[in-house]
Each structure stands twice: as C-alpha cells, then as structure tokens.
C-alpha cells in the first residue's frame, strides 16, 4: 500500500528573482529575465542573449552562506540558495533535514568552471586558486556539496536526463516516500549557464536570437536560462506530526520514452500524449479535472508542435488554460521541471495563472491557443506540468491543491 505524498515547501532562484517572492512578483508583472549576459564570457555575448541569474558567483556565495574560493561551482551555489529556501519554507528543523533524502538534477554541473580553467586544470605544473575546481565538473558534485552543507546522508541521488531531469528527480523522490523508504525528501535541480551549453544548443540551431515565442506560428527556437528550484516532499504523517501544513499533493506522474529520435520529438506528439495520459491515470483523474497546464513550451518548432498536438488530442474541446513560462526564465534545462513545479505551487498559493508571453499568431496546426494574460483570481484544483527532453524523455507531474 503506497503512501500519499505532499509538498510542504519550495525554493527557487532564476533570472526573474532570487527567491520565490521575487519570482512571483515578476511573473505577475510580466517581467522577463531575457537579456545580455553579464557574468558569462562568451564570444556570442552581443548576439546570443539568455536568461541569466542577476548575481555574480561571489554574490551567490554570500547569499548561499559559503566561502568564496572553496570550489563551489555556480550550479552548486544556485542549488544551495534554492534548497535553503525550500527547507525554510517547509519549516523543517535541522534534525528533520538530516533525516531527509536529497535527489537533485543537473546536466551542466561544473562545466562552466571546467571550461574556464581547462588548460590550467590539465597542467600539473600550474598552481593557483583554480585547483579548488579539480574534479567538480560531474553532476554528482553539486549533490554532494548540498548533502554536506545540510548534513544529509540518506537517499542521495543525481539525475541527468536532459530537460526532464528535475521532473524525474521529483518522481523518484515521490516513489521513495510513497514506498516508505524515507519520510521526507528534497527534490529538484540546478543548472548554471556555460559556454558549452550555449555553443552546443547553437550548433543544434535551436536558439532564438530574439525573445522566444512559445506556441506562436513564427516561433524560432528557445532561449537558454539558468536557475535552481527544490520542492520538499513528505508523507502525511511526517508534516502532520510537527503541526505543519502542505501546499499540494503530488497526485500523479509519468516518465516515458518516445523512442523516436535522439533529439527531436515525434511531430504527432506521441510521447507527450502518453506522459500526460499516464499521469492522469496514476492520479485517478480525468481531463476535466485539470485547471491549468504548465507546458514545456520551449518555442522550438518541433517541441511546440509535438506538445501542442498532444494537448489538443488529449483535451480536445475541454483544453484548460495552458502556458509556457519559459519566456520569463528561459529554458533552465535540467532545472526546468522543478522551476516550473515551483511556479505551479505559486499559482495555487496566489490563485493566479501566469501567461505565455510573446504569443501573437496561432500555429496553423492547432485549434488551441495559450493563455496570454495574467489571470486572477482563479479557482485551481489540479495542475499538470510537462517536461520533455533529448533522448526521447517525456515526463509529466500532476499537483493537487490542498
């Protein structure tokens, strides 16, 4: 018999805010984080804009409460800031945290620092402050640093499953709590921008030089972003014991693979459709129960067609309001699933829906259109959040308001 799993707190840092409140204010006031890169040095600086967190590495160290020069990668720092906020928001004591698990997602990890110091790190004769970054590039590094900071020793895992990673981390966390392996687990993802990521996506020709336009007929690709978000998952007994309350229940989820192509989604949206269907089935719900969909909506030609058709096929005339919040934050890749989960929880708390910025012309293949205005007040019972990625991965999460 599996236990119900609830969310008691969350924390988030993105290009539109250093914490949940700032993110929420930006969402409501349509303030996007897209612009010139201030902190990442790349030759593409004047042509390729992105959604950068508006803090230097040193400022992030101060916010996270760690020493500068101790080898904390930017990904780790973003993770620390968001995780601290999530833990505080959930009202967890130090003892609670030490008994919790941690499942975190990233792809870039410490690549940003590796690319900056590559030749020095490879040269045994070179000395300097950069040696603090030896062996920090792999995805597990940030999870270990977070675990050390919070004295977490159990259920440690790092997911690296492209753009559905954070959603997969949340799914694993849910299952660990549901099956009684642990009572509380902190799940999410962190991702810093890097030259490798920017150049990699640029080489795949899926970046838009302009501000992205999800689900628009004239969309031209995605904007990259960086950030981190964590949600605290707990069993009912766990938070009730200490008189705390939950924001929502993680009522359904799915992780499927489309097996269509290494980077593209099928034009018919088979994987997206299957992920959403299975999520509803897991929650024991129907399409009529969904009040809002936070779409993956990267604004690539391929994803939006695929996802748009899948939503239309599944919901038909009863398609609920849906939007992509990626024009605000950019595509935070491995952190996207948890950043957008945080936005769904914000939507519950505010009774508000966040719009799909930059939408002007409907796609000719779709009868449905995304939400374009901040909508408030609105009664929300259940929200679906999609995350799709390279390698055919498709994940969906269903949050039910408490």
């Amino acid at each position: 018999m599996s236990r119900r799993v609830f969310i008691t707190g969350y924390g988030v840092i993105t290009a539109i805010g250093n914490n949940a409140e700032e993110n929420c204010t930006s969402l409501i006031h349509r303030r996007c984080g897209f612009g010139k890169l201030d902190f990442l040095e790349t030759v593409h600086r004047d042509r390729l804009f992105a959604c950068e967190v508006k803090l230097s590495d040193d400022a992030l160290c101060r916010l996270a409460g760690v020493s500068i020069g101790a080898g904390y990668t930017r990904t780790t720092l973003l993770g620390l800031v968001a995780a601290k906020e999530a833990i505080a928001a959930a009202g967890l004591s130090d003892a609670d945290v030490q008994h919790a698990g941690l499942i975190s997602a990233t792809t870039a990890g410490g690549i940003r620092e590796l690319e900056r110091h590559f030749y020095d790190l490879q040269d045994p004769g070179k000395k300097g402050a950069f040696v603090a970054y030896l062996d920090t590039a792999d995805p597990g590094e940030h999870t270990e640093r977070l675990a050390e900071y919070f004295h977490i020793k159990k259920c440690l895992g790092t997911v690296s499953n492209a753009c559905s990673s954070a959603a997969n981390a949340i799914i694993l966390g849910e299952r660990l709590v549901a099956h009684g392996e642990i009572d509380c687990v902190i799940c999410g993802g962190a991702e810093a921008l890097s030259k490798v990521t920017i150049n990699g996506f640029n080489a795949l020709m899926i970046l838009d030089r302009e501000h992205c336009k999800p689900f628009d007929e004239n969309r031209n690709g995605l904007n990259l972003g960086e950030g981190a978000a964590y949600i605290v998952l707990e069993s009912e007994g766990s938070f009730q014991r200490s008189g705390r309350r939950a924001i929502a229940e993680l009522a359904g989820y799915a992780n499927v693979n489309e097996a269509f192509h290494q980077t593209a989604s099928s034009p018919q949206g088979t994987g997206a459709l299957e992920a959403m269907k299975r999520t509803l089935a897991k929650a024991g719900m129907d399409t009529a129960d969904i009040d809002y969909i936070n779409a993956h909506g990267t604004a690539t030609e391929n994803n939006d067609l695929s996802e748009g058709l899948a939503i239309q096929r599944l919901f038909g005339d009863r398609t609920p309001p849906f939007s992509s919040t990626k024009p605000y934050t950019g595509h935070t890749t491995s952190a996207a699933g948890s950043v957008e989960a945080a936005f769904c929880l914000m939507a519950f708390q505010q009774g508000c829906l966040f719009p799909n910025i930059n939408f002007q012309q409907p796609m000719k293949e779709l009868d449905i259109q995304p939400l374009t205005e901040v909508t408030h007040p609105v009664r929300l019972r259940n929200i679906l959040s999609n995350s799709f990625g390279f390698g055919g991965s498709a994940a969906s999460l269903l949050f039910a308001k408490c």
Partner: protein, 88 residues
C-alpha cells in the same frame, strides 16, 4: 575556376567523409536525390554536420534552419548555393 560538376564530385566525397558513411562510393551518391528522408536514413543531426562542413570548407555561414533545409535538399542544390556564396 571550379565548374559546378567538379564541385559536385568534390562535395560528394566530403559529405561521405563528414557523415562517416563507411564503404559508400562517392559515385553512388546521386546529386539529384533528396539527401534526407526515408531512403537515405540521414537525419537532422547529419544536416547540422553539413552546415558545419559548408562553413569550414567554403566559409559560408548558415544560421537559419529553414534556409538550411532548402540548401541541403540535395547535392546539386548544395553545390549551386556554394558556387554562388563561397568565400573560400
């Protein structure tokens, strides 16, 4: 001055090399046959590799994916575009 036919012959060899199509004779590659689709089994990643090839060998930068699709339709369309715009 390279003729179009000479460029087509050269391109075929370069494509086969760049895409690692082991054991294929350049002469087997029909310049008028669509490069992408079910027949050849080449896909969007191969297309991106050809964009890099065109930049590296001929100095032409293609940044628009829709434009790339037209240029890369077959070897002939590639050769014609390169002839017109090459800087190397």
């Amino acid at each position: 001055m390279q003729t179009l036919e000479e460029l087509i012959t050269l391109l075929k060899a370069q494509i086969i090399e760049r895409l690692n199509i082991d054991g294929m004779d350049p002469e087997e590659l029909d310049e008028d046959m669509p490069l992408f689709g079910d027949i050849t089994g080449l896909d969007s990643i191969d297309a991106l590799e050809l964009v890099v090839l065109i930049h590296k060998r001929y100095g032409i930068k293609i940044t628009d994916s829709k434009k790339a699709r037209k240029i890369l339709y077959n070897v002939r369309t590639m050769a014609e575009y390169i002839s017109e715009h090459r800087t190397a």
